[in-house]
Amino acid sequence: MFWTFLTSTIKFSTLFLYGSVGETITEKSGHLNLGIPGIMCLGAIGGCYGVRSYIDSLGSLSQMSGFAVVLVGMICAFLFAALGGMIFSFFTVTLRCNQNITGLTITTFGVALNSLMLSKIDKTGFYEAGRLFSKGIVDANTTDGLVKVLFSQSALVYIAIAIAIITAIVIKRTRVGLNLRAVGENPATADAAGISVGKYRYLATLIGSGIAGFGGLFFIMDYLTGNIEYGIDTYGWLAVALVIFTIWKPNWAILGSIIFAALYRAPSYLNIGFTEREVIKMLPYIVTVLVLIITSIFGRKSVQPPAALGTTYFREER
């Protein structure tokens, strides 16, 4: 029972992990992308259409290869989601629009497009594709204990953890990461030091959005095994919350996402009433607010939001 809970929690946490790692990269560049829920939806649309065209290109469903379907899904999800990031960057960097309103519009757009497009798509073969997505190294039904927790997970779960660790290293240890943080902390200084603020913001938002898009793909194809009836937007906002909860550190996001997922999954494993369930559902947001308050009261510089978060940079503005 406990192992099953832990396994499903880690699986579910992947959704938050993709979203929050993507958003962390974006926010490190100074872009507060509130379009993340919409961008995750765009990733889901892209993934679904990618899988659809892959299935259509095959003669029969039995020819489907697990590697190919995951790869096609991921590429399409990345491209679609990055397109959302592209729109965001174009508006905020090139057109210097306000980030909050651009982000909120992208969320409205993405969520609406998600429910519209996915109600139109032909779902034949999605269950089989979903089975391939969620296939682990060992079978979850026959194993138990730590082996089940660690080795029955699907490819996208491992990829999420790998991306989180790589992102953490790149941001913390490399020149690119240093420049990225400089752009997010003080774009004017970064610009004076010869770092192209626009380029960094564009790339960070594109890559971040693409990664968040994997979250959408994961949710539809892997977690729900191809059942595309449910929306992602609520989880998207939790991913934004998670960025604050983990104080902008992608490696901590691995743990943070598991905590969030555990809070979300716990009610179905505990025998409790409706009211208690609602209290538990509220908890992730409350702890996020607490983290935000505590870091602002006692926080050192290293736990603060990037200083230029949410501001548009225009060189000639003083």
């Binding site: 210097r96 992208i106 609406a112 497009l113 009211t275």
Partner: protein, 441 residues
């Protein structure tokens, strides 16, 4: 200066390099004529409607011809629809008005959704526990008070932390939205024991129907609040103080405005208006409570307030257009059988285009193809004449960087006629020394 020195200084070379990098130059509009922003915005609205029509064709090829007629039929077709349209515009306007003082103060409150929900929750609580026990008129007033107090209190939380510890208000208020949503589901589970999560229509606390029509009184209340907010922002001392805080916190401190006090006061005002919106939604429209009672209007209103540059009158027009777009697109979607959320797509496309148009209102874009020609001139002629210099300045007008440089030139030219004598490329130091000499003399 470039012309008189004869040689190009390092600075000029740098400017030329900058100009070479990009043929597109973006500069802030400083002296745009008054009609220009209006023309740009009207054009943007027209473009937005056309794009939405084209997008409709993408979903339903036959829909283009009927798009505009259906838009109007969905919004102005019957008396009922007209009132619905105005009510939708009114509630959007009310929430947009509520967030405006905060935005003017540069307090990025994106928690309007949650604040409206809290107002609605407080009102529903009053109806649930007091309905039938007090007189109907008293109940409505009590609901209003509870909504205003509840919503203002809810808004006060991030305001206090912002004022005291500078906690990031964008993220804080964003999180509070979802806490408010969860709070409503929680209260509903307490009220509705069956677990269905649906509170039926409550029979008490309905606002009176003017002329037998729903929403008419609501629209009048919003009109009244609009005037109130306009006066508050434009003519009151509070309105002045909050715009000073928004422009520059240091200026506000210097002239003796207590910034925390202004933040807290403005946010209470903002929250109170959100409370009124919640009250209208419960007592004047849906007569029930659910997590979707605000229906994303809190977010839409933020966009409206921002795009109207916090001007209540433009806000009213924008709200009306958004409501028209939403209702009209819903009708188009029903007729063409596109799908449930098409109106959200249409509204967001509308917003995308309006947001983009703001760029053209605030900035001017110039394409300069002349700099390569100028470069050749600079290389071939050692000593360019005075006429050429003004020519070069005109060309360099295309970029903001050289704009400011040209201005510096003018200033130098006026104040220091001796400039002409400086022949070295390091003329800047030369200028200063001549100038100093002149001053001492």
């Amino acid at each position: 200066m470039r012309s008189v020195t004869g040689k190009e200084s390092k600075f000029d070379a740098f400017v030329d390099k900058l100009k070479k990098e990009s043929p597109i130059h973006i500069a802030k509009r400083m002296d745009a004529p008054k009609w220009l922003p209006i023309v740009i915005r009207i054009a943007a609205v027209i473009v937005a409607f056309l794009v939405c029509a084209i997008v409709t064709v993408f979903f339903e090829p036959t829909a283009f011809g009927t798009f505009f007629t259906e838009m109007f039929r969905g919004t102005f077709g019957t008396e009922r629809r007209v009132i619905n349209l105005f009510w939708e515009a009114a509630i959007l306007l009310l929430i947009a008005l509520a967030v405006t003082p905060a935005f003017k103060m540069k307090f990025w409150n994106i928690g309007a959704e949650g604040q409206v929900l809290m107002g609605a929750l407080m009102s529903a609580t009053c109806i649930f526990y007091l309905g039938g026990k007090v007189s109907e008129g008293g109940l409505i007033v009590l609901c209003l008070l509870a909504s205003v107090v509840g919503s203002a209190g809810w808004t006060l939380i991030p305001a206090l932390f912002k004022a005291k510890w500078n906690t990031n208000e964008t993220l804080f208020t964003l999180m509070l939205n979802y806490i408010a949503t969860a709070l409503i589901s929680l209260v509903i589970t307490v009220w509705v024991k069956s677990g269905s999560g649906v509170v039926g229509i409550m029979p008490y606390g309905h606002l009176p129907k003017l002329g037998g029509q729903d929403y008419v009184l609501n629209i009048l209340i919003v009109a009244f609040v609009t005037v109130l907010v306009w006066v508050y922002l434009k003519f009151s001392k509070h309105g002045y103080e909050l715009s000073v805080v928004g422009e520059s916190i240091n200026t506000a401190k210097y002239i003796g405005i207590s910034v925390p006090k202004v933040i807290i006061r403005t946010m209470i005002f903002s929250g109170a208006l959100c409370g009124v919106a919640g009250w209208l939604l419960v007592n004047g429209a849906s007569y029930t409570i659910s997590t979707t009672i605000a229906g994303g209007r809190g977010f839409t209103a933020i966009l409206i307030s921002w795009l109207a540059h916090f001007d209540p009158i433009i806000m009213a027009i924008t709200s009306f257009l958004v409501a028209f777009m939403g209702r009209g697109a819903a009708q188009v979607s029903t007729i063409a059988n596109i799908g449930g959320s098409f109106e959200d797509i249409a509204t967001s496309i509308f917003f995308f285009i309006i947001i983009a148009s703001e760029f053209f209102v605030n900035y001017k874009v110039k394409f300069s193809f002349s700099h390569s020609k100028k470069k050749v001139e600079g290389e071939t002629t050692e000593n360019t004449s005075e006429d050429d210099s003004s020519d070069a300045e005109m060309m360099s007008d295309t970029s903001q960087t050289t704009d400011s440089e040209a201005q510096t030139n003018e200033i130098f030219d006026e104040s220091v006629p001796e400039l002409q004598t400086c022949q070295s490329s390091e003329d800047r130091t030369c200028d200063v020394s001549t100038q100093n000499k002149e001053v001492t003399e």
